[in-house]
């Protein structure tokens, strides 16, 4: 296909991506270097004939508004915002290490810093949910593949529900059930004979709940991709494996898994990307007190609607995409290589 025709076909798509994905990245990267203007203060002196002079400082709101209007980005701040308490917090980290606490105390104190708290949860969530959901999805795919043909339709339909339903809605539905007054929460209290048991109270319980929830909504995607993949497993290879006396497990291990391997890379990639941006479950489960994610930090900063927070959100965004790129580079390189061989 000549360059011109190619360009004509793909230009709209490329333009959309450049305008609304590449440009915003530049936009928030620039934004993160600026900080909101200080208020303009005017000092006025009022002198009374006998009482001497009183100096008064007040905010010149008109001038402040004008300055903000003329320079909406704010004033240049360099990497200042990256270093403050809410982001990388170099000063705090320095103090913690200088304090020479024991190992656990050091970790606990670092975990108390907002950015690291969010980072730790985001990484834990992405790195536990992805493999667990994929394993579950694979097992479901194998099991559903053996279901009689007539029942396959309904089984697949119900299996897909956790995936297609909006994450926020899914988390609300589950949240209402595990509520102390909901059916699961009440059942748990009944089983454990502990009327105060709540899945929301302790950080550990919240984390486990969120991760289980994550596995629940992510498994169907792995399931449907692997299930579709199972339909393409060559029957000749399968039959020759059977003739060679391979057991059921060996057939899965040596015939099915290798066929599905490229798919597994694809699913890992997509799921890591999706899980790294975890936001809705934290809102739905009202879990911010015990678990926050990087996306959630940005979300709350933006919801604050003041320019100061714009810079903060921008800085967290830069740090987040740095994290995404570090996390995904190995998988990306693998994909790029495989892809390069094929072309």
């Amino acid at each position: 296909m000549p360059h011109r025709t190619f360009l004509a076909f793909i230009l709209p798509s490329i333009l959309a991506m450049l305008l609304f994905i590449a440009t915003p990245i530049v936009s928030f990267a620039v934004q993160s270097l600026y900080i909101e203007h200080d208020k303009i203060l005017v000092v006025s002196e009022t002198c009374q004939p006998l009482g001497g002079c009183v100096k008064e400082t007040r905010v010149d709101s008109e001038a402040t508004a004008k300055l903000r209007h003329d320079h909406p980005l704010g004033k240049f701040n360099g990497f200042g915002i990256y270093q403050d308490h809410n982001h990388l917090a170099f000063a705090d980290i320095g103090n913690i290490f200088a304090g020479n606490f024991g190992f656990y105390e050091t970790v606990a104190r670092i975990y108390d810093l907002p950015f690291y708290r969010a980072l730790v949860f985001t990484l834990t969530y992405a790195l536990t949910v992805t493999p667990l959901a994929m394993c579950l999805g694979f097992v479901i795919a194998l099991a559903v593949n053996a279901v009689p043909k007539l029942l396959k339709g309904p089984v697949i339909f119900f299996s897909l529900l956790p995936m297609v339903v909006t994450p926020l809605i899914g988390s609300l539905v589950v949240y209402w059930m595990i509520n102390a007054d909901g059916i699961l929460g009440a059942a748990l209290q009944h089983i454990t004979h502990n009327p105060n048991l709540s899945l929301k109270a302790s950080p550990t319980m919240t984390w486990i709940t969120l991760i289980c929830y994550g596995v629940w909504i992510n498994a169907p995607f792995s399931f449907i991709v692997f299930y579709s993949g199972l339909q393409t497993v060559p029957s000749d290879t399968m039959e020759s494996a059977m003739i060679d006396g391979a057991s059921r497990l060996q057939r899965v291990r040596f015939v099915v898994l290798p066929t599905l391997m490229p798919l597994a890379v694809f699913v890992t990639l997509v799921q890591l990307m999706d899980n790294f941006r975890v936001l809705e479950p934290i809102i739905g489960f009202n879990a911010a007190a015990n678990a926050t994610s990087l996306s959630y930090s940005i979300y709350t900063a933006l919801n604050n609607q003041s320019a100061q927070m714009f810079s903060s959100a921008a800085a967290t965004s830069v740090l987040t995409i740095t994290g995404v790129i570090i996390l995904l580079t190995p998988v990306l390189i693998k994909t790029a290589r495989e892809f390069g061989f094929r072309t």
Binding site: I140, D181, R248, F266, L269
Partner: protein
């Protein structure tokens, strides 16, 4: 597949069936329970005494006289004007799907037919773009959108969602078109068609399975999005998902949990119907395209 060689030992068959059943309960029960509960009053759905109240609607009978009530739905749809968000969601989801697919099929087709090296780079860059969390990009949109005075409108949001959706759409459709034989459109070219005519006359008739699968994912993205729609739309332009999240704040002050439950069920119902009709195509499309890639 019913030959003796393929028959499974009984123990395995039982285990596998039991597992499927367990999974089905896990996957479907929360939704069935919520749909059932949405027709009860709050005292039943969140019963302090016993879960059977939610099943039989004891308090619902006491309060309304009948075991099923549409009170939550009335509150959500009429009092809280949920219907506005429903219309907005319909507009956003349909536009996002149509525009995404139009751009995506053209782009994906071009990528699958070119032999130049840049196709590799475009696809890898698209993959990197796909990895960017939506909310980080939103933080880059807000200030420029305020300045340009395009913040808060549905078209802005639609274009943003289309763009965010492009990387995935391009990849899906690319891997689908690669599996459509080149000879098909090349013979059309030989017969004197232009590239676009070849695409329209030779490729379009056979591309629907892939387009439907990709379209489903695009629709879900437009329908389910929270990060973008909650930050980029004004109150009256809100779609369903941000509307429901704003219900949550209202609940805490006014105690209308059942409104939110009813709204949640209303927002889920179209998805149920969609999947019921399209799950066969979903598997077929994935089998023909993405999973072969």
């Amino acid at each position: 597949m019913s030959s003796v060689a393929h028959r499974r030992p009984l123990s395995l068959a039982i285990m596998s069936t039991a597992f499927v059943l367990l999974w089905l309960v896990l996957a479907a029960f929360p939704y069935i329970w919520t749909v059932w509960g949405s027709f009860k009053v709050e005292a039943d759905f969140f019963s302090r005494e016993t879960w059977q109240n939610a099943l039989f609607g004891v308090k619902t009978v006491q309060q309304t006289g009948v075991p099923f009530t549409g009170g939550g739905y009335y509150g959500a749809w009429v009092e809280s004007q949920f219907w506005r968000s429903v219309i907005n969601t319909a507009i956003v989801a349909l536009c996002v799907t149509t525009i995404s697919l139009t751009l995506g099929t053209l782009g994906g087709y071009a990528l699958s037919r070119t032999v130049h090296r840049y196709k590799f780079w475009i696809l890898i860059v698209a993959l990197v773009f796909r990895a960017m969390p939506d909310i980080t990009l939103v933080s880059g949109y807000l200030l420029p959108f305020f300045q340009l005075n395009i913040w808060g409108y549905l078209p802005t949001t639609i274009i943003v969602l289309v763009a965010l959706n492009q990387p995935f759409t391009l990849w899906m459709l690319y891997s689908f078109f690669v599996n459509i034989p080149k000879e098909l459109d090349e013979s059309a070219l030989v017969d004197g068609c232009s590239r676009f005519q070849a695409f329209r006359l030779a490729v379009m008739p056979v591309m629907w399975p892939g387009v439907i699968t990709t379209g489903l994912f695009s629709f879900l993205l437009g329908y389910n999005d929270f990060a973008v729609t909650s930050m980029l739309l004004t109150q009256e332009n809100q779609t369903m998902i941000p509307k429901i999240s704003s219900f949550l704040f209202k609940i805490q002050s006014e105690g209308h949990v059942m409104y939110a439950v009813a709204a949640v069920v209303s927002a889920t119902a179209p998805l149920f119907i969609l999947i019921m009709f399209f799950q066969r195509q979903l598997v077929a499309g994935l089998t023909a395209g993405a999973v072969k890639g």
